[in-house]
Amino acid sequence: MLGLTITQWLFGILSLMAIMFALMVVFTRSPVNSVLYLVLTFFCIAGHYLLLNAQFLAVVHIVVYAGAIMVLFLFIIMLMNLNTETEQQKHIIARIISGVIGGLLLFVMVGALKGAEQINLVQSGASQIGLVKNLGNVLFHEFLFPFEVASILLLAALVGAIMIGKREPIKN
């Protein structure tokens, strides 16, 4: 079929779906639909990770992003009771200008990267770097200190989120 391997087909389909869902995130009016399209985009990106033989990251991506972060977003949106009626849109000129700026940015990026060298990805049948065992080795040997710092960062974020989100006592 057109001389493409199954990997190339998968890459094309996943890329098209990711770009389409990402566009829907921006252009859908209802915030809840936006969140659901973003979840679909994340699933497509996780598929890309699988294609790149990064199984550990694919699983972590689904668990952390699609599982935890997007549920937080959904909860907040439902708490605020946002829907299409409450959604305000920017002025049409502002929207057109932002679209033009995005198009120009894309033009510049594609133009700058077009001449880059064509390198094929390495044969990843031999590449085992995305597996849990290998990543764990690297993480707990070379990156042990950043790992500990990340745990402190998460603790600080936890305490900070609770402090910010706490309802203050009503003062008269």
Partner: protein
């Protein structure tokens, strides 16, 4: 298995996803949607990091992506707490209304 996808395709895909996120940040008024578009931009960069990590057969890139995910989770928790507080005080998350810093 992974034969013959040039790295350029991954660069282009990441650029397109990043720019869609940037346009979303510029074009939307709901602060939560803006926040989601920032997540989309982060993910575009993550994808490129993983692609180059596979290209160079170096695990450091994937460990970096792991750390970026941890930082993004912390950022979302604090950011959404701030947005919830803003909503409680102003009854809106419209960024064109929340412009007191300008005056």
């Amino acid at each position: 298995m992974l034969n013959g996808i040039p790295i350029n395709y991954y660069i282009m895909l990441s650029a397109v996803l990043f720019i869609i996120g940037a346009v979303g940040v510029m074009a939307r008024r709901n602060a939560i949607i803006v926040f989601m578009c920032i997540e989309l931009m982060l993910n575009a960069v993550n994808l490129l990091l993983v692609a180059f990590s596979t290209l160079h057969n170096d695990a450091s890139g994937q460990v970096f992506v792991f750390f970026i995910m941890a930082v993004a989770a912390a950022e979302v928790a604090v950011g959404l707490a701030i947005l919830a507080m803003v909503y409680r005080n102003f009854k809106t998350v419209d960024i064109d209304v929340l412009n007191r810093l300008k005056e």
